[in-house]
């Protein structure tokens, strides 16, 4: 793999502010070097810290909700507090954790490296979107302290315009977070279009980047609708304009249309990045190219487009006309096709590969296991007459947790373990990571499989209390949540422990052919010593030399130029 001197594309602080070849963590020191940083890697790390705190907070509320449901009647808190807990769990997990988790943290860190760029297209805009995120978090926290919201994360009207709590500050926080999301999306789109290193054609784009690209499209196009909806909600509450409240002549179902017009694409904003990570993990640990690369890449785009056309399936019993119900059901069915294509291609990739049972691969395989369940239970909910019975029950709760947590969170954890050496320069303890995985996998299934059964038996969502026949299932689910928590803490500990006890990570510990492993560990400030010229795809294990899979590019390029010419002829 050759590296030639090509003028850097895009501006970078490295030229003016430091040595581009120094490791990004130590190129500059001191707290202010982090506060003012425009380096996409540092911003990615700061995002990672924030979303981890959000995950901890959202997870704590989840555990409290489960604990309250352990027994009938009051277990730990009263009904109003319970309603706040599940609202906070949902709002924090959706808006503060899962939407920014993969794109803003891992995407920010790896998208530019994976296309051979020095940074994102607009580094300062990237910094702005991080601080907007922080402001959004502060506003949300303020609304929690100042009265709390009990509407559920969906803010359905007219309850949300009547309830006395701080719905407006909460939705304003979400409004600000939306801008952060839009800016990140915009940045990624421009980066992928303009900053690809020579040789990174669209057909050599890593699938993680394809996923981020599809996600960015949705973020840019869908998030403004959420902003509009929340502004209308604010106008209604402040000025009494009748938009959604029937007492003022509004229509509460209109709010649901607006809300899901954003929030359904948001579901794909959450899952497509998870799928994107999974493609990387499956390829690396099978030592072979993803089967049907083009189909997998296009299925991400397909999901992004379909995501805009199916919002009505949240409202099959909400009072829509039969005609729209029919259309939305038909369109919803189509979602199964790109999802299925991904599942089939990942599985086919394993065939005749060389499968490494490393901890990230365990998460990747559990993604396939859990997302199969999450996806297939979607068939029940897309089928109209069956959905009538199942909607708004725990069946739906279990379904979207299998997709969101079984999908995105599993991929996120797998991605963290996978890229941790590259990000921090330290190796984690594989045994501890695998023990953590076993607890996460068992705990997760116990928690949510019980919810499928009680849901199909008729247990509605968002209930503080329940009929006696549901108690065994609630108990199993709560116990599952504790096992899950043990697994997550073990995994978190494993990652943190690596920072002070971990061995120095080699350049390419997993033997991947992916571009991001070709540079030094930890990554230099400018990502690569020289702008790389790419002559093979990111999954071309048969073209990658053994040295490459062990030590990456720069060390090769420092050796005689003979190699350089022989590689250059292979170009494309």
């Amino acid at each position: 793999m050759a590296a030639v001197d090509i003028p850097a594309i895009g501006g970078h602080e490295a030229d003016a502010h430091g040595d581009g070849n120094a490791p990004y963590l130590t190129a500059k020191r001191g707290i202010m070097s982090w506060v003012y940083t425009v380096d996409h890697k540092r911003i990615g790390l700061m995002y990672l810290m924030m979303v981890s705190i959000a995950f901890l907070a959202g997870g704590t509320f989840a555990l409290l909700v489960r604990l309250e449901l352990f027994s009938r009647g009051k277990t730990i808190v009263d009904a109003e507090t319970y309603n706040r807990f599940f609202t906070l769990h949902g709002a924090i997990m959706v808006f503060l954790f899962i939407i920014p988790s993969v794109p803003a943290a891992l995407g920010n860190f790896f998208l530019p490296i994976m296309i051979g760029a020095k940074d994102v297209a607009f580094p300062r805009l990237n910094m702005l979107s991080f601080y907007l995120y922080c402001i959004g978090v502060v506003i949300l926290l303020a609304s929690i302290i100042g009265g709390s919201v009990d509407t559920g994360w969906t803010f359905y009207t007219p309850y949300s315009v009547q309830t006395a709590n701080s719905v407006i500050s909460m939705t304003f926080g979400v409004f600000v977070l939306g801008f952060s999301s839009i800016l990140t999306g915009l940045n990624f789109l421009v980066t992928v279009h303009t900053l690809r290193a020579p040789g990174v054609s669209w057909t050599r784009l890593p699938l993680f980047v394809w996923g981020m690209y599809a996600t960015a499209l949705m973020q840019v196009l869908a998030t403004p609708v959420l902003a509009i909806t929340l502004l209308l909600l604010g106008a209604e509450r402040f000025f009494g304009i009748g938009i959604f409240d029937p007492k003022l002549g509004g229509d509460p179902v209109l709010f649901q249309h607006f809300f899901w017009f954003y929030s359904h694409p948001a579901v794909y904003i959450m899952i497509v990045p998870g799928m994107a990570i999974n493609s990387e993990l499956i390829a690396t640990f099978s030592r072979r190219s993803i089967f049907g690369y083009f189909a997998v890449a296009m299925s991400s785009i397909g999901l992004a487009i379909l995501g805009f056309l199916v919002w009505g399936h949240h409202m099959f019993v909400a009072g829509m006309s039969e005609f729209s119900t029919m259309l939305f059901s038909a369109l919803t069915m189509l979602v199964a096709i790109p999802s299925g294509v991904k599942m089939f291609n990942w599985t086919a990739t394993l065939y005749k590969g060389s499968i490494v049972w490393a901890s990230p691969m365990l998460y990747a395989m559990s993604f396939i296991f859990l997302f199969s369940i999450g996806g297939l239970t979607g068939l029940f909910l897309g089928t109209l007459s069956v959905d009538v019975h199942l909607t708004d029950t725990y069946f739906v709760v279990a379904h979207f947790h299998y997709v969101m947590m079984g999908g995105t969170v599993m991929a996120f954890l797998g991605g963290l373990l996978y890229w941790w050496p590259k990000m921090t320069g330290k190796m984690h303890d594989e045994l501890k990571a695998k023990i953590g995985f076993v607890f996460v996998f068992i705990g997760f299934n116990l928690t949510f499989m019980s919810q499928f059964i009680m849901g199909s038996r008729g247990m509605p969502r968002r209930y503080y209390d329940y009929l006696p026949q549901f108690e065994p299932f609630h108990r199993a689910s709560t116990i599952g949540s504790w096992i899950l928590a043990v697994g997550l803490f073990t995994t978190g500990y494993t990652l943190l422990e690596a920072l002070w006890k971990g061995k120095r990570a080699p350049r390419n510990p997993w033997g991947s052919a992916g571009y991001e492993w070709m540079t030094e560990t930890p990554v230099p400030l400018a990502n690569f010593r020289q702008t790389p010229v790419i002559t093979r795809g990111p999954y071309d294990y048969h073209l990658a030399t053994p040295e490459e899979l062990a030590t990456g590019w720069d060390e090769i390029s420092e050796k005689p130029a003979a190699k350089k010419t022989s590689q250059a002829t292979k170009k494309d």
Partner: protein, 350 residues
């Protein structure tokens, strides 16, 4: 049409309506399709992950292309999906179009109770329907979104303020099931003196006793599918006994009026917030309130006919100190005669 009176299975509740057989058939069709697909994908994944595990001397084969296979697994699911869509929509239309001869029952939902108003004008907090007869419910809400859900009937419909939604069903046999609210509608656990007690009961008819912390989960009702005779008897029992006096022009005796008032107290859902034991709930208890002087947000008020009347029709006008402005108005939902009966009932609770 599939048989529609199977007992509960591990996954699904008992079947009680004519549509439930078809819906459950489709449920189990999807279930077994999913099981087959899941076992195929996950089975292949585990088998290959073990068979082709990394070990010395084992080399991966570079990935090739297989266009026919790619096309096959893109196109094949479409057949299943079209079938599911078709069956699902068919079932949905069965649920959507009520037969012309349906018995029409009006449903008023409010935080946090159901009221069912029958063709004879009587009402009850429980739903009684004749076995084997089509019944159409016309639903509306006085405040926020609710959703009418009876698991055994396999029906669910959101109840939206400002519009009417409908749901219809025909039961297949005599029996009963729970009515649940399936759309989150808030909750309250504070009364006049802080937190309300909360202790669920084991009585399946009334699992969430009145006068306690209440909300979304406590909007529980019962649906009774009865023989025609029992249904006719029920209709008679909810008719207003004061009616006969009204037609003769004589005043309704106090004890009969109070008895009617007690029915309204439970039918219209007053009991969700007002106890008759003296313990304050979300609203003041009715026990011993008659004739008392109470402090309100507009000064002292004597609890008499006029105050009660005003509080029912315009609840926000004078609010007893210590309670929130949370009661919905009953204007248009309660007749003058019923108001008098409620007043007579409160008077009887001295």
């Amino acid at each position: 049409m599939n048989e529609s009176n199977a007992p509960a299975t591990y996954q699904l509740p008992e079947q009680m309506s004519t549509v439930s057989g078809d819906i459950d058939w489709l449920y189990y069709f999807i279930y077994w399709t999913s099981v087959v697909l899941f076992v195929a994908i996950v089975g292949a994944m585990i088998y290959w992950a073990i068979k082709y595990r990394e070990r010395p001397g084992h080399k991966p084969t570079p990935t090739g292309h297989n266009m026919p296979l790619e096309i096959a697994w893109t196109v094949a699911p479409i057949f299943i999906l079209v079938f599911l869509f078709h069956k699902g929509f068919q079932g949905y239309m069965d649920l959507a179009v009520a037969p012309a001869n349906s018995i029409e029952i009006r449903v008023n939902a409010k935080q946090w109770s159901w009221e069912f108003v029958y063709p004879n004008g009587g009402s009850s907090p429980e739903l009684h329907v004749p076995e084997g007869k089509p019944v159409k419910l016309v639903l509306t809400s006085a405040d926020v979104l609710h959703s009418f859900f009876v698991p055994a009937l396999r029906v669910k419909r959101d109840v939206v303020p400002g519009m009417f939604t409908t749901v219809w069903f025909q039961t297949t046999h005599v029996g009963h099931d729970d009515i649940a609210c399936a759309e989150y509608c808030g909750g309250r656990s504070t009364g006049a003196n802080g937190e309300l007690p909360y202790e669920p009961s084991d009585d399946p008819r009334n699992p969430y006793p009145a006068g306690q912390a209440t909300g979304h989960w406590a909007m529980h009702g019962m649906m009774f599918s009865e023989t025609e005779e029992d249904y006719a008897k029920f209709l008679k029992s909810i008719g207003d006994k004061c009616d006969q006096f009204a037609t003769t022009g004589k005043p309704c005796p106090a004890d009969i009026a109070a008895e009617q008032g007690q029915k309204i107290y439970s039918n219209k859902g007053c009991l969700a917030c007002h106890t008759t034991t003296g313990v304050p709930g979300v609203g003041p208890s009715w026990k011993g309130i008659w004739g008392k002087e109470e402090a309100t947000n507009v000064g002292k008020v004597k609890i008499d006919e006029n105050y009660i009347r005003e509080s029912i029709l315009d609840p926000q006008a004078k609010i007893v100190t210590g309670f929130g402005p949370v009661m919905p108005t009953f204007r248009g939902q309660i007749s003058d005669q019923e108001l008098n009966e409620v007043i007579a009932y409160i008077e009887s609770l001295k």
